[in-house]
Amino acid sequence: MDRVTDPTFWMPKGASTVAGDVDQLYYFLYWLSVVLFVGIVGAMTWFALRYKRKSETEIPHGPHHNTVLEVTWTVIPLILVMVIFVWGFRGYLRMVVAPGDAMVINVTAQQWQWSFTYPNGVVDAMDERKDKQPVNGAKDMPVLRVPAGRPVKLVMRSNDVLHSFWVPEFRVKHDIVPGQYSMVWFNAIEPGDYRVFCTEYCGQDHSMMMATVMVMKPEEFDAWLKKKGGEVGGGDPVAAGALLYKTKACGGCHSTDGKPSVGPTMKGLFGRKEEITDGQPVTVDENYIRESILEPRAKLVKGFGPVMPESYGNKGPADQQLSEKQVESLIAFIKSLK
């Protein structure tokens, strides 16, 4: 199966399941470029020396064009770039489609720090290990703990401007856009520590916005998460979401048992293909649920009227608006209604 690859002259260690394919394409392009470059610059140098001007009055004679040659050097590159396109596209598909069983961790980015929240409500802790010094002048380095060998999906949101999540060893990167959830997933192969960089310019301390991904043995990770969950207590987003669902009266219009009432049922909603009035069908994901709650009129489910209150989003009075945290809890709760 997949294994961690050692750093090469160019690439850092490859520590996720997509790294191998990216590196293969990279090195294919690299050697292709070397061959083409040596061909072009070699021909140029050879011509320059071979046909160096001998006298000021010499007038050389040579071919003006050559159709066969010209067609060849258009068609061969065309075939090559199409192969490269398909290769890159297939690798990209693997990077953007997270496996259904991926563990979801919520990521919040803001100027200039990262924060990570686990399914049971545990929020990341700083690195307690003494020998780990923050780099780049960062004041502290939050730690994203993940289990080795299991897919992890990050649902990321920004509190202010654009940011971007990059772990070079995983070969994955995604911008974090305010006003929506941005997703990235990876499957880290072996335990180890890697750096997280912010790679979308975000102001003064952009270069100090760093974190560590700590890939742990799955058993150790589970134990850690359980222990922390016990300490935090009551922070479980599913429970928090269930409570909100009650207090915000969602249940008045939405059932959790599969029967439609004023609004569609929440049971099995996540991942469902939903028919939309005036629009393409959509597959329900975090972003869709978020939009359905904050801007209910943006997409109307077929067969239902525009009656869901708009007051949960920023159109409502301040005391009725839901915070990002509350929306995240509601999503966690809805996702739990399988």
Binding site: M44, G62, H65, H206, S207
Partner: protein, 553 residues
């Protein structure tokens, strides 16, 4: 025909046609306007270059070296904005294009001389506005001005101000563009058919079309900003329901074609240089001409390749990646045809041709590394890293700027009637070429290994490569200072160049150097194209100028 004999009995050249500062400020002569543009864009190049040196110096070591994070962020913004908007975009078309396009077409001037002068003043206004915004507004967003950072209070609405500046500068480009389009269509001397036009003219013509079509997008963006501010309708601002990614679409819908506004004219220069210094007709002239047009068209369809990880739809990314690969083809065609032109030529190692060969070397690397970024899965790793920084410097600096300086050296005797110190010029090219590779090749390694761009600070394991890069940048800088020195020194000399120092058969060399105000004493009769070295009527031109030169020296 010796130089002295020409001096006595000839019409005064354009530099003698009027004296004093006023004769320059109100001039309608395309050559003088071109010269004013030349000094202005070189001023911007110096400014952007100084900023670059400060940026590289700060990166000498991890942590703070000479300035704090805020100053650093402003410095790279100044560098990028000055280089792109004030230097590279206007450089070749507005400076060299203005000086040469009418002469190459056998015309007396451009179609609308007043518009031409207006474009220069608009450029000045736009440039001053941009610099004032950066200097007093503390703009630290990078030259891409992405929202919402650029619309936050801290940076005082940079996006609006800078879009406005880019828009004003764009208007100057539009004026120049319209002028060139009409001049090419209407003012070609009898005998200059479309396919006898120099490839430099084809390149400038394609660029002009791009400028006229792409620049209005800036105006639309500006208008949308105004609507958002005034009526509170969410367009780019997520807190009122807008979408920051939309700004990126608008930005690149202009700025990607702008990449071709920057590189096409450079490619045009390389065609001229390669032909003259190989004494060969351009191999596959028609293919090269059409490849300029093809690049201009494709450049409108690929803007989304800057946004593969931005959160645009994955389908869009796939389509943009697919289309991007078609840009590779016309670029490759040009490269191969230049090689074909050198084949069996008579190749000179004069400094302009050294620039041309440096261009081919550097642009090959720039183009090939573009493939890494066009392919989706590798782009995810490489985007927003130093790999991208290195890639576009190889294209923009190794490509356009080397071509521009090749062009400046080539047409220096034409424009000012003097020759520069060729020995120093060769040293300067060597310094620039070697320094450039040291500076930017190390950045490919940095980026692939995981160094993000726009970083004031970086982990210690990147320090060594950063130092190499910084040393390289000093070498490049020294090379350009040397160039500035011998070019300025040459202006003090007597006019000693002769009319056709390179023994070219191209039309611009068939009039005196510097040319008279109306470019030609009589309307030229064109019997052959600009590259027809083996045409029976052309060969004597080469021989005559070559022997006259020997006598004069």
């Amino acid at each position: 025909m010796s130089v002295a004999a020409t001096a006595s009995g000839r019409v005064p050249h354009y530099l003698e046609a009027g004296k004093g500062i006023k004769s320059w400020l109100v001039t309608l002569d395309h050559k003088r306007i071109g010269v004013m543009y030349l000094w202005s864009v070189l001023g911007a190049f110096l400014l952007g270059g100084l900023a670059a040196i400060l940026v590289r110096t700060e990166l000498w070591s991890t942590g703070q070296t000479i300035m704090d994070a805020n100053a650093y962020n402003r410095m790279f913004t100044l560098h990028g904005a000055a280089m792109v908007f004030l230097f590279i975009i206007p450089s070749v078309p507005a400076a060299l294009g203005n000086i040469l396009l009418p002469i190459m077409l056998g015309a007396k001037d451009v179609a609308f001389p007043r518009l031409n002068l207006a474009s220069y003043y608009i450029y000045l206004v736009g440039a001053l506005f941009a610099l004032a915004a950066i200097a007093f507004g503390g703009v630290d967003t990078g030259w891409t001005f992405y929202t919402p950072y650029s619309t936050s209070d801290k940076v005082a609405n940079t996006a609006v101000m800078m879009t406005f500046a880019a828009f004003v500068l764009g208007f100057s480009s539009i004026f120049t563009g319209i002028n060139f389009i009409v001049t090419v269509h209407k003012l070609r001397a009898p005998g200059i058919t479309w396919f006898r036009m120099p490839l430099f003219v084809w390149a400038i013509y394609s660029t002009a079309i791009l400028q006229v079509l792409a620049t209005p997008v800036l105006a639309i963006t500006l208008l949308l900003f105004m609507v958002e501010r005034t009526f509170g309708i969410g367009i780019f601002d997520a807190t009122i329901g807008g979408d920051p990614v939309l700004f990126q679409h608008f930005f690149w819908f202009y700025s990607h074609p702008a990449v071709y506004i920057m590189i096409l004219p450079g490619m045009g220069i390389i065609s001229e240089l390669t032909s003259t210094f190989s004494r060969r007709p351009i191999f596959g002239y028609t293919a090269v001409a059409f490849s300029s047009v093809a690049l201009a068209i494709f450049s409108f369809l690929v803007w989304g390749h800057h946004m593969f990880v931005s959160g645009q739809s994955e389908y869009a990314s796939a389509l943009f990646s697919f289309l991007t690969f078609f840009v590779a083809l016309p670029s490759g065609v040009k490269m191969f045809n230049w090689l074909g032109t050198m084949y069996k030529g008579s190749i000179s190692f004069a400094s302009p041709n050294l620039y041309a060969m440096a261009f081919m070397f550097l642009f090959s690397i720039g183009g090939l590394t573009g493939i890494f970024l066009g392919a989706l899965s590798t782009d995810v790793h490489l985007t927003d890293s130093y790999f991208v920084v290195a890639h576009f410097h190889y294209v923009m600096m190794g490509g356009t700027i080397f071509a521009f300086f090749g062009g400046i050296h080539y047409w220096w005797p034409k424009t000012f009637g003097v020759t520069y110190n060729e020995g120093l010029a060769k040293i300067a090219v060597a310094l620039q070429f070697i320094g450039f590779n040291i500076t930017f090749f190390s950045q490919f390694i940095l980026g692939t290994r995981g160094m993000p761009r726009r970083y004031f600070n970086y982990p210690p394991d990147f320090e060594e490569l950063h130092r190499i890069s910084t040393i390289g940048s000093y070498i490049v800088f020294a090379g350009f200072l040397l160039t500035a020195w011998y070019l300025i020194a040459s202006l003090r000399k007597e006019k000693n160049a002769g009319d056709n120092p390179w023994h070219s058969v191209a039309l611009e060399w068939q009039t005196s150097s510097p040319p008279p105000v109306e470019n030609f004493v009589e309307t030229p009769k064109i019997k052959h194209g600009p590259y027809d070295y083996d045409h029976p009527d052309a060969a004597p031109l080469v021989l005559a100028s070559a022997s006259s030169n020997r006598k004069a020296s």
